[in-house]
């Protein structure tokens, strides 16, 4: 029956400052994990290089108006060879931790290109993977004409994420020369030097707590 100040709400003995602080920190951990719908804190296997991360975030900040209630995932391609590899024939691997639960309404593949030659070759993006049991089967997702060196955001269709149960996405880049300019395509180079790692941006609608129940007025 320690005497001392009591909690005004429940009448129990109030906690000392250290005990209260420890309780608040424990509460904070639970509240954050619950809010992010995680069961435990992620043990990050390989964090992106801070410079790669900074560049990607800077690209995205300049592009969009912040919208509430959306989840945005940025996934960096696993290492892609030397600092500048031919874009043609490259296969980019992305690891999404948890398959996304909701249809994505925005998927962009960001590539940093420096074509050695002028010209406006196209890049075809194929989904590369195991389909119908055939290793290396490929499905055409999109084709984009490259007109400017530097960062290019290539839009991919929403169905790109279908069937990614394992959370691994592979894209194969195939170049197609523009009419009358057959050599330009061969020199279309993926520039990954200086932390220009290709990355994928996926936006989905956040799940509202309590399922999709319409909000009461």
């Amino acid at each position: 029956q320690r005497s001392g100040p009591r909690c005004p709400s429940c009448g129990l003995l109030t906690l000392g400052p250290q005990e209260e602080r420890a309780l608040v920190l424990e509460l904070a951990k639970q509240q954050i994990l619950e809010g992010l719908q995680l069961t435990s804190r992620p043990s990050v296997s390989h964090a992106p290089h801070p410079a790669v991360l900074a560049r990607a975030l800077r690209r995205l900040q300049s592009k969009k108006v912040a919208q509430m209630n959306q989840v945005e995932t940025i996934s960096f391609a696993a290492e892609t060879g030397s600092s500048s590899t031919p874009a043609c024939g490259s296969i980019l691997n992305f690891h999404l931790s948890t398959p996304l639960h909701l249809p994505a309404y925005h998927i962009r593949l960001w590539l940093h290109l420096h074509p050695a030659l002028a010209g406006t070759p196209s890049i075809q993006i194929f989904q590369w993977g195991l389909e119908r049991g055939v290793q290396g089967s490929q499905t055409l997702l999109a084709e984009h004409r490259m007109t400017t060196p530097g960062w290019n955001a290539l839009t991919l269709p929403a169905h790109t994420l279908e069937g990614t149960g394992s959370g691994v996405l592979k894209f194969k880049l195939v170049c197609r020369p523009h009419v009358g300019n057959t050599t330009a395509a061969r020199h279309l180079l993926l520039d990954t030097a200086g932390h220009h790692q290709p990355f994928l941006v996926i936006r989905t609608q956040a799940r509202t707590p309590g399922g999709d129940r319409a909000k009461r007025r």
Partner: protein, 114 residues
């Protein structure tokens, strides 16, 4: 809503700033560096019952008068959050992907008596 002073008994908001460094989570939560973990505590005597803090309105004022003048106090009234705001968090997931999400109702901004 008043912020709780040491020893205040009536319904108020208790402010706590949690720095993610203190949790040892700054390695995977990139932004922000911390957040306000506030909670409501204190008593709600009958004359305060139904007084929803900063969300008070004409309706609740009339409602309180009726309540304060009625001989039968209604059931117990509790000190609860009456206004909350979302928190945007940028964090690294298991595979090193960067995820930005908005967690709804994360920060208590006002408390009031139910």
């Amino acid at each position: 809503t008043p912020t709780c002073e040491p020893g205040s008994l009536l319904c108020c908001k208790r402010n706590h700033y949690v720095d993610f460094q203190e949790l040892g989570w700054q390695d995977w939560i990139l932004q922000p560096e911390g957040y306000q973990l506030n909670y409501c505590s204190g008593q709600c005597p009958p004359h305060l019952a139904g007084s929803p803090g900063i969300t008070a309105s004409f309706h609740s004022a009339v409602f309180n008068l009726l309540k304060a003048n009625s001989p039968w106090p209604s059931g117990p009234s509790c000190c609860v959050p009456t206004a909350r705001r979302p928190l945007s968090i940028l964090y690294l997931d298991q595979s090193g992907n960067v995820v930005k999400t908005d967690v709804p109702d994360m920060v208590v901004e006002a408390c009031g008596c139910s």
